[in-house]
Symmetry: C2
Amino acid sequence: MTQISRRALLAGSAALAASPVLASAPIVGTQAPGFYRYKVGDYELTQLFDGAATFPMPDHFVTNVSKERAIAEVARMYLAPPGEITVPFNPVLINTGKKLILIDTGYGPNVSPQVGHLPANLAAAGISPEQIDTVIISHIHPDHTNGLHTKAGALAFPNAEILMPEKDWAFWMSKENAARANDPVSKAYFANAQKTLSDLIDHVGTYAWDKEVAPGITSIATPGHTPGHTSFAVASGKDRIFVQSDVTNIPAFFLRHPDWHVMYDHDPDLAQRTRHRFYDMAATEKALVVGYHFPFPSRGHVERNGMGYRLVPMSWSTTL
Amino acid sequence: MTQISRRALLAGSAALAASPVLASAPIVGTQAPGFYRYKVGDYELTQLFDGAATFPMPDHFVTNVSKERAIAEVARMYLAPPGEITVPFNPVLINTGKKLILIDTGYGPNVSPQVGHLPANLAAAGISPEQIDTVIISHIHPDHTNGLHTKAGALAFPNAEILMPEKDWAFWMSKENAARANDPVSKAYFANAQKTLSDLIDHVGTYAWDKEVAPGITSIATPGHTPGHTSFAVASGKDRIFVQSDVTNIPAFFLRHPDWHVMYDHDPDLAQRTRHRFYDMAATEKALVVGYHFPFPSRGHVERNGMGYRLVPMSWSTTL
């Protein structure tokens, strides 16, 4: 071992203190919390970012457009690295002042580090899972329902009533329907639903369309993506916002091209008709829309654009 | 005073505990922190939201377009309540791993509660003002420079060298130029510069164009908005981003309509030529651009759109 004198050590430490290579602050490497608050009348809503998945473009991500066209569209819209695609996931929390209501739960902890960030972002927003009174599921797909459970399989929101769209609950939990499924996407959805939701059979409630599912929250029929796929109007005072759920997957694709079919649609023709009906309404009424797969913080207006539509995102505001 | 028995109090408190009007969680009323991190090569950049100002549409906000047209455009782009306009402010922090460099400082504490949030968002990002090594000013306008001082008038970043664009420093600090100013906007800018920056005359350094102003940060001439208005290329490894500063004010107006002149431009014709030159480059190179007045978190690509351009915002990412 080389002997180093105390004098040299002191000199070295002085040199180090004066060195320009010393970092002023460490590289942090982590993102800001993914939550965003806004008001709808007296209600306080919080967008909760569950994350975004980037994955190689599937062969039939858009079932009625070529993979090459889909890959070119990703590049045109700067959505992901070449040959990949990115899909974000954005549940929404509604504080009515009396009740805390969560619409959809994110992907949960068992899928990938890219997703399942809702619990962390809920904590960053100052809310504990135990405080949630009601969880409303828009439709039974894993990115919306799998966050109902913790990694250990317990209820993620232990004090919450859970409300499922009645048509989806009947459809996806049916063993007969599951046995008849003959495409890999539907098979995977049936398998996930029956694996992850069967413990909830005596626990959940169901809701119908055109009902006030919770105070100020009305269910709207937007079927096609799934048989019971539901959007919501959230109204307080004179304000209203539409929580569209998955009327589109990513808007850069399916809002701009409403006649494109995403591989996850159960009845793509019905989903297409639903898109036109919903966005014609939203554009005409200049309605504010929240989309589960819109870029965080997921709020925007819909404007007509040629044969399709375009999202005009709402800007970040410091004030609510 | 009405007497209330202990029994009634207990009954009341039991009734209260069981009451559905008890909030599960209080309405919070405040926004999530306004910072956002991303990587450029080995560098870690942090967008810091200073806030957004909403104000009645000035008579000549767009000097070469009618106020009615400007008001209609706000409505069309859902930018603000009727008759008003919203402008956001977004400084950027660059951590090279060795140095912490802040480009522009926000409006500081003396303007309005709508703005001056940079210090709070810097703190939320885990950085103290004392850690900043260098402050680079893109141009001498109050929303970029007034954050150099605290409310008490001390240096907001006490250990930082301050670098000003040499042409702006010479122009705006000249008493002769100030005396010659004959329009209210220029007069206000001269007055603010000489009031708020005179204490820094022996403290600041200046920089020229086309120079590496700090490690990996190159100054780019984009004059017009002010005589010394500067953009920056920030490069590390194979990555690069352009910090455009104010080549446009809000992109919904002046990126979509590059021939519109904002009332804050010193030489509007030169600013217009600069816009076309800069955005032709950005669109052709598919460059990533940060804009001081882009919607937070302020990153996007520029695409050509008819006679103008359009911003394609980058989506929020959980990973850096």
